[in-house]
Symmetry: C2
Subunit: 545 residues, 2 copies
């Protein structure tokens, strides 16, 4: 067969492929380096994700609807918080035919500047959050444009956007398509319109979808979003016309996360070199201080000294081997942990309030871990737990996974939170636990990871990757809550035992009184007295136990 190399071209004009029966002789049309070169071409990121849309969470019609809403809600909440506005969202899903739905998400955020609208909704990998080290729900600049792309692919309809940036400014209405060959927006409609809200954005996408209730439903997602965002008011109408209003439980915005610089410990050689050579003019000493967090004058001096470089040289001239020396030096200098002002945890009180509002339970507890660091990225874990009451006692624990205030619903078993929950030894805290599984009992567990960069296992942001540092923090938080639960359960068991004893006393003492009365021929009054004395004595002895 080797000899056939070079026969390329013989059947060049065979336009349609032909089925060759198994065993039949196939014509030779082998490729050469040259013919292969002709077929090489660039793949646009939109084409890539359009073909691989399951990577973005659009694998099936049910999940597609959820993902689209989630992306729009993430953006709305991020925008409101960044602008210091208490969020108020209107989410409406309308069914227009058996398989077609229109989702609409409206916020009272700051609005979007006209020129930016086409790119934000019509271009994948475009956004403000990717290059920023600061906690936010969105991070990749893919989500909402991917939702629009899915809508376009399945319904043929463009994404419709309405936005207004202030009461003194007009509202703009856009219809946008994505040109997937170019990964660029095509503007279908661009109008000024009348719109009442003084500021805000509304996005509407028509798509092929399925609406279901129950676990991992949009209803469920909205409820969890309200739980994780107690400062937001959410009005929600599902396609069945059911209206759910979640009024905000907190009248204040969360503490605003601040942008930070990367920490020297988390940086790799290539990145270090890139930062040092592309951060403008300045000495190595100066750029180190300017581009990294926790590098004081003294720390910069120490790094430079250990690296053997000259600190007053121009940073942008740094060679790769020099960057390598610098990196090695960084690892030998003690540097303070990164600042955690980039984080915005939910807070123990609000998590507790949320759990109480959502579950009728006997016992609630919440713990917030101190911030920690993985690969230079600060993060913080918060854990809440509800137990007993109306929670089902024969089922596995209900697990709520939240990342940067956004609930995660799919790929539970692939998530670091699941791993942390499963590898906690719940039996030592008084719960049943099948091997390698979540414990069984009336428990709801809520785990929130807040970070400048949540390492998701896929672009669809459904599960957190298994970084050991992250799992460890989660497990410590879970254990703290489990310990408190265990104390409660023990106390509860003691109480139950006591009630049991009490009921024995109440049940049997009168009979003993009657029996003694019969034997000793006592009067009714005497019998009653004996019963009282006996009851009293036993009660006291029981309490002394």
């Amino acid at each position: 067969m080797k000899s056939k190399l070079g026969d390329q071209g013989v059947l060049q004009f065979e336009a349609e492929p032909v089925v060759v029966a198994s065993g039949a002789v196939r014509p030779a049309r082998r490729a050469t380096a040259e013919s292969m070169a002709q077929k090489q071409r660039e793949i646009s990121i939109s084409e890539f994700f359009s073909k691989n849309r399951h990577l973005l969470g659009f694998d099936n019609p049910q999940k597609a609807l959820l993902t689209a809403i989630k992306e729009a809600v993430d953006n709305s909440l991020d925008a409101c918080e960044e602008a210091g506005i208490l969020p108020e969202l209107k989410i409406i899903i309308r069914q227009i035919s058996e398989t077609r739905f229109v989702m609409s998400v409206e916020d009272n955020g700051p609005g979007i500047v006209k020129q930016q609208i086409p790119k934000i909704f019509g271009k994948l990998l475009y956004g403000s959050k990717f290059h920023t080290m600061k906690q936010s729900r969105g991070q990749q600049g893919i989500g909402i444009s991917a939702a629009g792309m899915y809508g376009q692919l399945t319904s043929g309809k463009p994404t419709c956007i309405r936005s207004r940036t202030g009461s003194d400014k007009p509202a703009h209405y856009y219809e946008i398509r994505i040109d997937t060959n170019k990964n660029a927006p095509t503007i279908v409609k661009d109008e000024k319109v009348d719109w009442d809200p003084p500021h805000g954005t509304r996005v509407e996408i028509e798509m092929e979808a399925t609406f279901k209730k129950g676990r991992r439903s949009v209803d469920d997602y909205i409820q969890q979003t309200a739980l994780a965002n107690p400062h937001a008011t959410i009005h929600y109408v599902n396609p069945l016309g059911e209206i759910c209003d979640f009024e905000r439980a907190a009248a204040e915005l969360p503490v605003e996360p601040k942008e930070i610089k990367p920490h020297p410990y988390g940086v790799e050689l290539g990145m270090l070199h890139k930062i040092m050579t592309s951060s403008g003019s300045g000495s190595i000493h100066k750029i180190l201080q300017k581009e990294f967090s926790r590098v004081s004058d003294r720390v910069a001096e120490e790094i430079i000294q250990k690296s053997g470089l000259r600190g007053d040289r121009r940073s942008r001239d740094m060679s790769m081997p020099e960057a390598e020396s610098l990196l090695k030096a960084i690892q030998r200098v003690k540097i303070m942990a990164p600042p955690t002002s980039c984080l915005s945890p939910i807070g123990e009180k609000l998590i507790l309030d949320g759990l109480k509002a959502r579950f009728k339970a006997d016992f609630y507890t919440v713990t917030s871990r101190s911030p920690a660091v993985y690969r230079g990225n600060p993060f913080q874990i918060e854990v809440g737990l509800a137990y007993g009451g109306e929670l089902p006692s024969e089922e596995s624990m209900e697990l709520f996974r939240i990342a940067n205030r956004a609930p995660l619903q799919y790929q539970q078993s692939g998530c670091a939170i699941f791993r942390a929950a499963v590898t906690t030894d719940w039996r030592s805290y008084g719960l049943q636990q099948p091997k390698g599984a979540l414990p069984v009992g009336p428990v709801a567990l809520f785990v929130h990871m807040a970070s400048v960069w949540v390492p998701f296992t896929s672009e669809s942001k459904e599960a957190i990757a298994h970084y050991p540092e992250i799992i460890k923090e989660m497990r410590l938080g879970i254990q703290e809550c489990a310990r408190r639960l265990s104390a409660h359960v023990r106390h509860h068991r003691r109480q139950a035992d006591e009630f049991k004893k009490l009921s024995y006393i109440e049940k049997f003492i009168p009979h003993i009184g009657i029996a003694l009365g019969d034997i000793l021929s006592l009067s009714r009054e005497k019998q009653k007295e004996i019963v009282e004395v006996l009851t009293d004595t036993l009660q006291r002895s029981r309490q002394a136990d």
Copy 2:
């Protein structure tokens, strides 16, 4: 807090973030639509994957080495096969410091045309296979450039490529970096060099890595690759200096897969509209026939008639509503399944040979399913099974997952193959199986999916997504093998039972002889005779069972 909207800028010059003690008052610096617009920017695909490199399989140093080799090997094998060359690969891993390795993969393929080298190795999403419906290992045009990007990020070194397209042509040597801001190659070195092979390519990448032996190791991957590619010769030297040579078991190339067009049943509205409007000039009737597989003149006519459109109209003028009518019509016309000449299965004989070469077992079986279709994409499942012999009998089944002849090693539990194996009821075939787990016993199971488009769960191509059609085919193949295994095991058990009976006869009859002899006072000879007669009688009765 709402009133603080617009205070933006107050702390504009605060260069370094400051830790604010919990509860302290934070300065207001809220964003507006305008300030947010200034921060919006494009994210290059290289930046995206550099930050999210775990999506590509570069999450940790051990996996990074494996992924890099895998990507290079995939490309080499694809190129050789496409050019009709029996592949011969040289894979060498050298350790150059505790955490630094150089991997080198060389093939005897057709080589790469000089002008293409920088883009193939220095640009993500660039390749020839993405737009082609034909079975190949690579599909996305990300792999090898991502490996180079990882190398550059962790070692600072460029990717080194040597390639030659024919004995009459010079060999080219390139050193390439990726400019991650632009997702474009930077040429560090470009030279003509002396290189012996008449044609072929060698790629070398230096990177931070860890080398381990055992499961999911590079050693293991190479072995499995040889098993799935019996037509390839592979020379492999690991960093410990251990040399493994896998000589090809098949002297012929696999049947060459042919490129096909998409099948009308698998196309969605957006895609249909795009194809109809961007496939050059031609009538609707003509474009339907030209751009889709299995659309004959008659089928095209029937589709057009049912759509209510006019078949002689220019296809490129088609509106979205018209495309919708066309799509609905397509679904009401009976169209032949897509051609399967785009597939290149390994074949039962070669899988069997491979299993025999790899495992010392008692029983082997292989089955090849007929091609099937998911979402318009043809695919074919092959299953092989080895049982008994030296396979460990106390452990879970060993599962080999292969997609387009490339072994999959990570994310087993997230893979459709695992799902198909776990949901097979192995107990009914005579094996033990814990609930929801792989069966326990001396079994190795090999499952190969060949397709024009394997739907991987992530860009790192580690697991196949859970399409019901795919899982069903896999399960049917597995069941076929399991049925044969079960017949073997039953036969084997009968035999074992017989041996047991035989051993009883051999063990006890002489004693009975002696006892009878004692009772009846028989001579030694008579005793021996009785033993023989008894043995013979029992043997015959046993065989008649």
